[in-house]
Amino acid sequence: MVNGVFEWERPLVELENRIRELQAFTKEKGIDFSQEIATLERKADRLRAEIFSNLTPWQRVQLARHPRRPTTLDYIGMICTDFLELSGDRCVRNDEAMVGGVALLDGIPITVVGPQKGRDTKENIRRNFGLPHPEGYRKALRLMVQAEKFGRPILSLIDVVGAYPGIEAEQRGQGVVIAENIRRMSFLRVPVVCVITGEGGSGGALAIGVGDRVLMMENAWYSVISPEMCAEILWKDTGRAPEAAGVLKLGARDLLELGVIDEIIPEPLGGAHRDREEVARRLKEAVLRHLRELMALDPDELLDRRLKKYRAMGRLQEQTAERLEAIRSGQAEA
């Protein structure tokens, strides 16, 4: 990628630049290029559809990692009002790789949490490139438990390569904190809507990703392992990550089919960064629709459905007649 442009989208970007130049020229010099512009725009539309309509899994992974892709705080800013950011795990540290707080979503008080990548190098250092330590997960959980106390629904915006693999993170129990988060989040007595907005890397994503509804942006990815690490394990070659992205079935459509997510939030052709306001609008609409449905349920019903959903996840095969009988008669769960 050069200047935020991938090799495979370069012809389109060059065409778009050309159109912008002509438009500027028209404005400055007053010469009418409208016909030429119209022609080029038709061509651009064709090219855009051609390039972006059949993205490979790896191309989507690249879009999910685009440096101009909206981050958690960007989305919060675009979909919420009155955001009050809250800090700290009351235990060790305030981890800036994870943000969270209370805000109004269309007038509804919600708690919102999510990992936060830096939007420039300086911020990336402060935010550890969006890779949370145990403190970050503990902060998120603290805020979610606070939401439960006040009966507030929760929105978890997920964009994380993974939990930080460092010495201190291991010392302070990265594994334990992920397990604790999953356990506690599973039993929160308020609606929880999770959205994989960008990257959904393994346990580091699931630690804030157990919800009544899990939505996913069209170009986001969500996987048990990153394509690079998968390639390393399979072929001892991280260069084959594009291939690995294919076999891992980490795209939104695959996950919908596997029953792991509930809805895909469409992105503008070419990725969320190409029209941030539009993608935020769609995100807000989808989240609100699900939240309103969930807020109508009583907490016992909510919990019951949430647990049933996860209980049914996985695929396997059994050969005993007994077990089949049990499933048919509804005696067996899921």
């Binding site: 356990r183 059994e318 499933i327």
Partner: protein, 296 residues
């Protein structure tokens, strides 16, 4: 009456029809064949490089008599070590079989080869047995099978273990020996087993019965970051590798050598993540003590 096909249609996410193995039923492996213990009369200890006589090693619960190194033990041998007798053990859900949900290249073949080699059908054996005559639900992960990693079958068998234990008011012991983390070949479905097992542990907890998690070498990744960390009591064998991120990944991330003892049982104890380090020969007595403290 519904046909088989109809049944599957109503539960499409759960059961698929493509079998990996032809024959069902519990499989009792003849003997464990952990990687570290090559076939033959002698074994080399990775701890002190001694050459050890296999029969002696086996008598000593597969612990090196020179340096105390704890070798891997297979699921069935572990059962024999902690239960009053393997004869009292009744296996659960032995018929649950693995499929290839993502169509992951080579998964079926690797599964078949592993099953052939280990005599196991999957990376976990679950069931009910007796320990000092206390009835107890037990799950044992086996490192020899896909490094003891958690796919749909491991998650499902664990969930059923906790569910059935709750129904029957049994304590649960799970030996994560050794959890290699996620079953990459099952992709996101492997990740979802973390949620499924954590939820099963919590629901079981409401039965008022204890869950003892025993960590053996290695307990990492998705196994450590789910059910294995949620024991009411967490014991670990000495010198086991315990952590979330693999040491090589940590080393690559921080770009400096790891401190000695990083991610060992002793490290986990010092940092407050486990209750006790238990020598293998002490495991059965300590488990018995816990059961006694929870006797009804």
């Amino acid at each position: 009456m519904a046909t088989l096909k109809d049944l599957f249609r109503t539960k499409p996410k759960y059961v698929t029809v493509k079998p990996v193995q032809g024959e069902a039923g519990p499989v009792r492996p003849p003997a464990p064949k952990p990687k570290e213990v090559p076939d033959g009369l002698w074994a080399k200890c990775p701890g002190c490089q001694s050459i050890l006589y296999q029969r002696e090693l086996s008598k000593n619960l597969h612990v090196c008599s020179r340096c105390g190194h704890h070798f891997h033990v297979g699921a069935m041998e572990r059962l024999a070590q902690i239960l009053d007798s393997v004869e009292t053990f009744e296996e659960w859900d032995g018929e649950v079989a693995t499929v290839n949900p993502l169509g992951f290249p080579g998964y079926e073949e690797k599964l078949a080869r592993t099953q052939e080699k280990t005599g196991l059908r999957e990376a976990i054996v679950t069931g009910v047995g007796r320990l000092e005559n206390y009835p107890v639900a037990v799950g044992i992960l086996d490192f020899a099978f896909f490094s003891g990693s958690m796919g749909s079958v491991v998650g499902e068998k664990l969930a059923r273990l906790f569910e059935r234990a709750a129904e029957r008011c049994l304590p649960v012991i799970v030996v994560s020996g050794g959890g290699g983390g996620a079953r990459m070949q099952e992709g996101i479905l492997s990740l979802m087993q973390m949620a499924k097992t954590c939820q099963a542990v919590e629901r079981f907890g409401r039965s008022g019965r204890p869950y003892v998690s025993v960590l053996t070498n290695p307990t990492m990744g998705g196994v450590y970051a789910s059910f294995a960390s949620l024991g009411d009591y967490i014991l670990a064998e000495p010198g086991a590798l315990i952590g979330f991120a693999g040491p090589r990944i940590v080393e690559r991330t921080i770009r400096q050598p790891l401190p000695s003892g990083f991610q060992t049982s002793e490290f986990a104890l010092k940092h407050g993540m486990i209750d006790r380090i238990v020598q293998r020969k002490e495991l059965r007595p300590v488990l018995a003590q816990i059961l006694r403290l929870h006797a009804r």
